[in-house]
């Protein structure tokens, strides 16, 4: 698969599926069509940017279930739900689960393309964000164990003296570690270091990756 932006359309209604693919292609997008959620899952992993147009009601695997499954993978393609009967509970559930958007059929070109564009933009932001996070994680991983300990305590606002006392080293050693951490992480201020820690979730005691 090329890295070109691809819109993935998952809908079991052949007529609608074809028509929307035709429309999107005419508007210049790359479109891949799948007749069911299972078919789509078979094609993973995907590469390249894009978004997913997902029909809510489908036999065997509903759109919502597919979304759930995707959350467990590392697919970060945004999901736009399409529904033929626009019921509120499903849409609320979908949004709560992190859907990008919710459109009801029939949908005209303008709102459709707007939603697609926004989704793709979100994707860029997100993937960028993820990239940065990945980079940050890599940098933190490059710290030595001692440096990691020092970093953890620094971002909690502890003074050098306190850190030395806690770790059983001298204040001078701590200062040296501090200097190394700042350099490795590529940050110039204490605030930035904290920001990294916070992004990586090191401050709430558990590593969590926010997508």
């Amino acid at each position: 698969m090329t890295a070109a932006t691809t819109i993935h359309v998952v809908d079991d209604d052949v007529s609608f599926r074809n028509s929307i693919a035709r429309l999107l292609r005419t508007c210049g997008y790359q479109v891949a069509v799948y007749e069911s959620g299972i078919e789509f899952l078979k094609k993973l992993p995907l590469s390249g940017p894009g978004c997913i147009l997902l029909d809510v009601r489908m036999p065997s695997l509903s759109g919502l279930e597919l979304q759930e499954r995707l959350l467990r993978t590392d697919i970060i393609l945004p999901i736009i739900f399409l529904t033929a009967h626009g019921d509120i509970p499903a849409s609320v559930r979908a949004i709560k689960a992190g859907a990008e958007n919710f459109l009801s059929k029939p949908v005209s070109r303008k709102p459709l393309l707007e939603a697609v564009e926004r989704a793709l933009a979100n994707y860029s932001d997100r993937s960028e964000q993820l990239g940065r996070l990945a980079a940050m994680r890599a940098l933190v991983a490059s710290l030595t164990p001692r440096e990691t300990e020092v970093f953890r305590l620094i971002v909690r606002g502890k003074l050098n003296k306190q850190i030395g006392h806690e770790l059983g080293t001298s204040e001078r050693t701590v200062k040296a570690h501090r200097h190394a951490v700042m350099e490795k992480l590529g940050v110039a201020s204490f605030a930035e270091a904290v920001s990294i820690a916070e992004r990586l979730g090191m401050l709430d005691g558990a590593e969590s990756v926010k997508r």
Binding site: S15, F16, S19, I20, A84, S108
Partner: protein
């Protein structure tokens, strides 16, 4: 005088019709004491004559007459009557003289020598103490009775222990005077317990007055009434007793059975018939040549205690007071006992009728209710269920229509874009137009399908392929199923399974089953699956099944679920399955539910295959 004249005429007839002695029947002279019809002696004579003809076929020449002295007073001259008799039987004396009552007997014994010295005498209806031994010759015999006064009085006191007063009805002729003295002597020992009032010094009307106003705890002993104190005879044809009975305010007892059944309460009684029978026996034997002195039957005594039930009832005499071995005659069943079966029968008929009427009314009411219910249900079937389905269908409809509409819109917009190009992509445009037309048709089908469903159309019976019905229903419920995350599977055979029914009805049945199944799977974990199966069960039957993966049905409820208003859902109407059953049974099919081994319920319907011979 007329009486004497008639007797003379009879005598003349006798005299003028003399026949040779050898061919002549035996002559019997029956001699009464008070007159031929004077009670109770007339009873003896009556029974005597009857018994005689029963016991003997030999004709006899019976002549009845009566002495007059007792009746007409003591100063009556008997001479002329003796002469009369002598003349009567001049050419031939009677072969037997039978006297009824003591006076007649005594008369003959007195005048025998002047009359018929050789004729035997049979004394009948005479009390034994009235027999004068010295007057009895070898030519005399008697069938006497024993009147045991003590037993009679004792009987009264036994059955009516509270009796404190006994009125004795007795007349004033010489024999009656004899008896009055006898009675007075006999009851003397009892007078400290019971007061005895003898009415012999009263005229009969006075006696009647007395009898009507006796003090409480009284009883009446009717001894004999021949001639009252005024010299008036009162018992021709036996009138005295009934007249007494009509006015008496106390129970009447007597010593013989002449009035038993006519007012005599009862007790130990002399049987007139028995005496008469015996007398007839003796008479016949005498006429056959036996010597009277060799025939000396012992006097006849009282028979066993007899009582008239009606008198017992009348006077409140308890049967418990009767001596053991008493015979109670004339028992009358009470109205109840008498008409018991009639009453019971009538009651039974009335009750049965009432019961039938009640049950008919009840049945009618039930039927009306049932009719109303079934009519309502029919209406429900055609409307309510449809509207239930319609509400379920509304999302189905929306979904269904939105698909083709959405596709049409996408295609139209695509076409717009393409047309803006230069040159436009004609091939694609053609494809687009074709797709638009298809989607339009699809939308149209959906609308007409819906309209057909909603229309209150008459039931139209066609050969409906069950497979298609499954498809229809599946299409309807798919959006709902998808919403709930339920997968639908349909296992159908390739050959058409035709059932002669209304299409909408069949859709309703399957739809109701499907909705039911989906509700059952509501809170179940995945996978949630609904399966439609259609197959040819037998040569003549189609079987359709709807299976789910819900929680199943409790075994004891497998039948109840088809009952109207049976529901376990908070919002349930309880109508879906019962309507399904009504429809299925209407087409001659069966529907039932069972639990699947793998969990969940299975609903099976069997319907007759169209065109197959059942």
């Amino acid at each position: 005088m007329a009486w004497a004249a008639s007797q003379l005429v009879i005598a003349f007839l006798f005299l003028s019709c003399s026949v040779p002695a050898s061919a002549e029947p035996k002559r019997v002279l029956l001699l009464h004491s008070y007159g031929r019809d004077f009670a109770p002696w007339s009873e003896y004579a009556k029974h005597f004559r009857a018994e005689w003809s029963q016991q003997s076929n030999e004709p006899i020449d019976l002549f009845e007459t009566s002495v007059a002295g007792v009746r007409f007073g003591e100063n009556q001259q008997e001479g002329p009557f003796v002469e009369y008799l002598r003349v009567l039987f001049t050419d031939r004396p009677p072969d037997l003289v039978v006297s009824i009552g003591a006076p007649a007997g005594r008369f003959f014994q007195q005048y025998r020598q002047q009359l018929f010295p050789n004729t035997p005498l049979l004394l009948v209806a005479i009390e034994q103490r009235r027999l004068v031994e010295t007057a009895m010759t070898a030519n005399d015999t008697a069938v006497a009775g024993v009147v045991d006064i003590a037993a009679t009085i004792s009987n009264i006191l036994t059955v009516l222990p509270e009796t404190s007063h006994i009125a004795v009805v007795i007349g004033n002729s010489p024999p009656e005077r004899f008896w009055t003295n006898e009675l007075k002597a006999m009851v003397a020992p009892l007078t400290n317990r019971v007061t005895f009032t003898f009415l012999n010094d009263l005229t009969f009307p006075e006696m009647l007055e007395r009898a009507a106003a006796l003090p409480p705890n009284s009883a009446i002993f009717f001894a004999v009434l021949s001639v009252d104190a005024a010299g008036v005879p009162h018992n021709d044809n036996g009138q005295a007793f009934p007249r007494l009975r009509a006015v008496a305010n106390a129970p009447i007892f007597s010593y013989d059975d002449s009035q038993f059944g006519s007012g005599n309460v009862g007790g130990p009684l002399l049987s007139i018939r028995q005496i008469s029978r015996r007398a007839a026996e003796v008479a016949i034997r005498i006429l056959d040549g036996e010597l009277p002195s060799s025939l000396r039957p012992s006097p006849i005594e009282y028979g066993p205690h007899q009582f008239d039930w009606r008198e017992l009832e009348r006077w409140g005499i308890r049967e418990a007071n009767l001596p053991p071995g008493s015979i109670v005659e004339f028992r009358q069943p009470t109205f109840w006992a008498q008409h018991r079966w009639t009453v019971l029968g009538t009651l039974a008929i009335v009750l049965t009728q009432s019961g039938m009427i009640a049950s008919l009314l009840f049945e009618r009411r039930r039927r009306r209710l049932a009719e109303a219910t079934s009519h309502r249900r029919f209406i429900e079937m055609t409307q309510m269920n449809r509207s239930l389905t319609v509400s379920t269908m509304s999302s189905a409809i929306a979904h269904e229509l939105n698909q083709p509409l959405g596709a049409i819109l996408n295609n139209a917009e695509t076409a717009e874009i393409l047309l803006a190009n230069d040159p436009p992509d004609i091939v694609q445009l053609r494809e687009i137009i074709a797709d638009i037309r298809n989607d339009d048709k699809r939308a149209g089908d959906i609308i007409s399908h819906l309209r057909k469903f909603l229309r209150k159309s008459e039931i139209q019976l066609h050969h409906i392929d069950i497979n298609r019905v499954i498809d229809d229903v599946r299409q309807i419920i798919e959006p709902e199923a998808a919403k709930r995350g339920i997968e639908i599977e349909a296992n159908q055979v390739t050959r058409p399974l035709a059932v002669r029914a209304d299409r909408v009805h069949l859709q309703q049945v399957l739809l109701n089953l499907a909705l039911n199944g989906m509700d059952a799977m509501q809170d179940m974990p995945n996978p949630r699956k609904m399966i439609f199966q259609a197959t040819l069960a037998t040569e003549t039957e189609v079987e359709v099944s709807v299976l789910d993966t819900g929680s199943g049905i409790p075994n004891q409820k497998l039948n109840d679920i088809f009952e109207t208003f049976f529901t376990t859902k908070r919002q349930g109407t309880g109508l879906g399955l019962s309507i399904a059953r009504t429809i299925v049974e209407m087409y001659g099919g069966r529907i039932w539910a069972e639990n699947r081994k793998s969990g969940g319920a299975a609903f099976h319907i069997v319907l007759p295959l169209a065109g197959a011979r059942a």
